[in-house]
């Protein structure tokens, strides 16, 4: 009995680790960002567009804007396509096709970010620079928001499709059969029964994809151009927050305030991502409970 108590205690301590880790990450980043926050006000840092670390100017606005542009572009490209694909897989596809698609989607979800980045450089950068930009009458080096958005869209596709398929498949078959028995076409079943029941879940799946897109680092920084100026069009380069961190963090920084500014950028990124992913997760967990 004593042994059992000891094991319970040990396992309990291990399971507190994630709670402890979450708190530690937030506190450590906050503590490291604090020196700068005591010098300048937070709105000043967030909404200023001047990024000149040598002169002590740490305006994060271009980076925040870059993150939002790239993510929204990816989202607009990926969401409709993934939802339609998910509907096909859950309500139309034969089980044989499902068997083929599932491993491919899993593989693509697991493909490393650097591979997507390389693919972007090989295919998407020339596509945007040589064909799409002239088509719209502008010039682009190819390293642009649109390029990053396209690469990112492909990266979040498997996530949105997989989660959406799960949500869509959870709609009870009796409901669908009842609608079919009333003479509804399959489209009507999807529109009035399946989507009506699972729209919030599908939205949550999209938000989950969105939160992945916000934090994606290597693939984006390989194709986005990394110019710290607030972007003006889809064809201009940008410099999202994760790329800022990846390019500049880790060098021992002698410029005062620089390290704090980067830690602040990390916290802002962390908060944006956490809000989105947590909201989606909590909703999806509730949904699963109601079904199970």
């Amino acid at each position: 009995m004593k042994k059992e108590k000891g094991r319970q205690l040990a396992a309990g301590l291990f399971s507190l680790f994630p709670v402890f880790l979450t708190i530690a990450i937030f506190l450590l980043l906050l503590a490291k960002a604090f020196p700068l926050l005591s010098l300048k006000s937070l709105p000043d840092l967030i909404f200023s567009s001047v990024w000149q670390p040598q002169k002590g100017q740490f305006g994060l606005w271009p980076f925040i804007l870059g993150t939002i542009w790239v993510t929204i572009t990816a989202f607009i490209l990926a969401a409709p396509l993934s939802i339609l694909t998910a509907i096909y897989i859950s309500d139309y596809a034969s089980s044989r096709l499902k068997k083929w698609l599932a491993p491919v989607l899993d593989l693509l979800a697991g493909l490393p970010s650097v591979i997507y980045g390389m693919w972007g450089i090989l295919l998407i950068v020339p596509l945007v620079g040589k064909y799409l930009a002239p088509l719209f009458g502008t010039y682009s080096s190819g390293y642009s928001i649109l390029t990053a958005g396209l690469v990112l869209a492909v990266m979040i596709l498997p996530t949105i499709v997989n989660v959406s398929v799960e949500v869509l498949s959870a709609v009870p078959a009796d409901l669908k059969e009842a609608a079919l028995a009333l003479g509804a076409t399959r489209l009507e079943v999807v529109r009035y029964v399946v989507l009506k029941k699972s729209l919030p879940g599908v939205a949550a799946a999209c938000v989950l994809g969105l939160s992945r897109a916000f934090g994606e680092t290597i693939a984006v920084m390989m194709v986005v151009g990394n110019v710290p100026v607030a972007p003006t069009s889809l064809f201009s380069p940008a410099y999202p927050l994760p790329a800022l961190l990846a390019n500049n963090y880790g060098e021992m920084l002698s410029i005062p305030g620089y390290e704090s500014a980067l830690n602040l950028a990390a916290i802002i990124l962390l908060l944006i991502v956490i809000i989105f992913s947590l909201a989606a997760r909590i909703y999806l967990t509730r949904l699963g409970r109601r079904a199970g």
Binding site: I25, S113, A246, L270
Partner: protein
Amino acid sequence: MASHPAGDNSRLKRRRRSESVFKFILLASVILVSLILSVILVSILWKSLPALKLSMILKTPGTGYYLGQSGGILNAIVGSIEIAFGATFLALVIALPLVIYLNTYLKRRSFLAEVIRLSLDVLWGIPSIVYGVFGFLLMLMFHLRASLLAGMITIALVELPILSRAMDETIRLVPAELKEASYSLGATRWTTATRIVLRQALPGLITSVLIALGRGLGDGASVLFTAGYTDRLTTSLLQPVATLPLAIFFQLASPFPEVQQRAFASAAILTLLILAISLLTRFFGRKLSRNKIR
């Protein structure tokens, strides 16, 4: 139906037409998605397999390697394997007792279980670059340099929520009757968890570990400032270590076409490794469904 055939017929036609239009749109998007996905796989392999030579796998970078001279990326292959296996082991050391505790000692909706699952959700959402930042700050606190150990710990943190959640989900599928049968024979919770629950969930647990391993192999952002990079093989925990994602990243940025070719070859190696893990995951996943107790 027979009473007003004309009106019904045109409505039916319209509904049929929208049905077929919708089906066409769905099919088009599925085909588009499959096309994109196959283009990615094919273009990567097509570009990179020709660059793949045996010396890439068997040699470490020689002098002048980054100017196009001879050598390979054995350092990055070995380094990636060392760091991913080490990290997965570390993550497993924490995740295993964690999921046992969650599923056998705590009631499903107890406050503590909710808090732990919530924190796992938070950790799951944190981008790996932020783990990299956190790992770097930890390194400074403990006066570590960029090393295999630091990289391993950082990747373990990235893997922990993925591993725990996947394991939690498989263990939850173990039927309650099985546990109750074990308790009724006088087994303790620990014995039930390790001898019955874990054994029943084993294929699923292996799948979870493989998923985490794949993430560990491919994650570049978190090791960017924690693992360093080296042209030699890493033989101690305190030496810096090369990883495949960073090898691809650095070589791709080179102005020399020979070096870029090697980036493609490195990408082929990484993709094949991930592919192998993905196939293994499938294999165990199939086994899992075969062992189901009904």
